[in-house]
Subunit: 236 residues, 2 copies
Amino acid sequence: MPGTEIEGRYSYQYPHPAVTVDCAIFGLDEDKLKLLLIQRDLEPFAGSWALPGGFVRMDEDLEAAARRELEEETGVRKVFIEQVGAFGKPSRDPRERVITVAWWAIVNLYEHPVKADTDARNAAWFPVDELPPLAFDHRDILDTALGSLRGKVRREPLAFEFLPRKFTLTQLQRFYETVLGETLDKRNFRKKALSYGILSELKEYEIGVAHRAARLYSFDKPSWNRLRKAGGSFSV
Amino acid sequence: MPGTEIEGRYSYQYPHPAVTVDCAIFGLDEDKLKLLLIQRDLEPFAGSWALPGGFVRMDEDLEAAARRELEEETGVRKVFIEQVGAFGKPSRDPRERVITVAWWAIVNLYEHPVKADTDARNAAWFPVDELPPLAFDHRDILDTALGSLRGKVRREPLAFEFLPRKFTLTQLQRFYETVLGETLDKRNFRKKALSYGILSELKEYEIGVAHRAARLYSFDKPSWNRLRKAGGSFSV
DNA sequence: CCAAAAGTGTTAGAGATACACCCATGG
DNA sequence: CCATGGGTGTATCTCTAACACTTTTGG
């Protein structure tokens, strides 16, 4: 490695830990932020719940490994994922030294319900504020992931990666309230959301609701790109 | 690993890449933000400049490894360091698969000048806006590290980890201007810095300057803890 | 007395917050 | 006609940004 004295045939002169990726997969359900967990069937921590994860293959990019795990668990491709960081306390896995690179993603929970037992593994969505004890150092990882998620969501228009292409302002507000865990003032929220000029007002409305139908909007990506290039930001 | 079917004696069933830490060590010099680089003497990238780094030992925490590298290079202990994240493109090191966990630190450049050639390695400080081409993917790492540094410095009172215990408001302002790469209005800066109530006005003044001596301040950590607990923040 | 940096307040504008009622629809 | 959520505007306040001159000190 850079700055160290390494010979060509050095491969096993240096330690080679196992490296995994673990994914904090968030979903929204009825105004609750939920997390997808897998119940372990083997030791250590057999029976405990854990973040889905797996080994990084030798020729596989870290992000690709995370996406592979995500897809195996949920069937979802092409969502936004973000790295949380590396976790590597020597004792975090009792079997051997395992360094994990953690990621988070936020997926539409309705479209991807559980898809669990395919692997004979038990999977379930838990509200983030009512989680069971987690295996390994997954509680630490989750806490860091949640901080990262909330920070990112505040500063970048991630909501639109998650919402359907056409959405109501109330859906958008709910998204923020649920992810951030705080309530927002309706009028102020709408004013602000519209003020960036990155939402297109459609000539369509919600259907099938037992009350006045809400107008639909879509995310105007070109406007966002222009705004971003002009040094603009997006925050709620 | 969590969610995967692993047996006890599985050690070499799964890939074991090499894992390193690399450190972006920043220092301030005459209103310039500088970065400590090491000139490589071996292939690959012999002669190129690189971030200091090295292998993570099998029983060593990632942060401990980063601190060890930092201390080897600069002699500095007990400074604030922050993880940037893991970088692991399969091709990033031509010799074998190497995943690196990057960190940044900010040290006092005067107190820790170069200390380089102890290892027969050439080390030097470069202004961050006049860097030579870097080895491996270190340019990527650096760019990410700089973003992380600037974000962190804006939101947390890191300046005081770096400045001497007693400092002038001008020194504080310089710190921010240098790290953030932008100039700040003197009156507004002072007003804001003092508004948090986390600076103690000392009854001492700068000495030995050829102009009016500036008042010294110190960081009042208890006040900061109180403010932080009350949900307060610090931003410039 | 000159050079160099310290120190100090006010104003205007932008953005944030607080707040309550009528409207449209389906059942 | 009722329950449910949709939709709207204003006033206040706080925070930010812009801006220039006098003071102190050492040389």
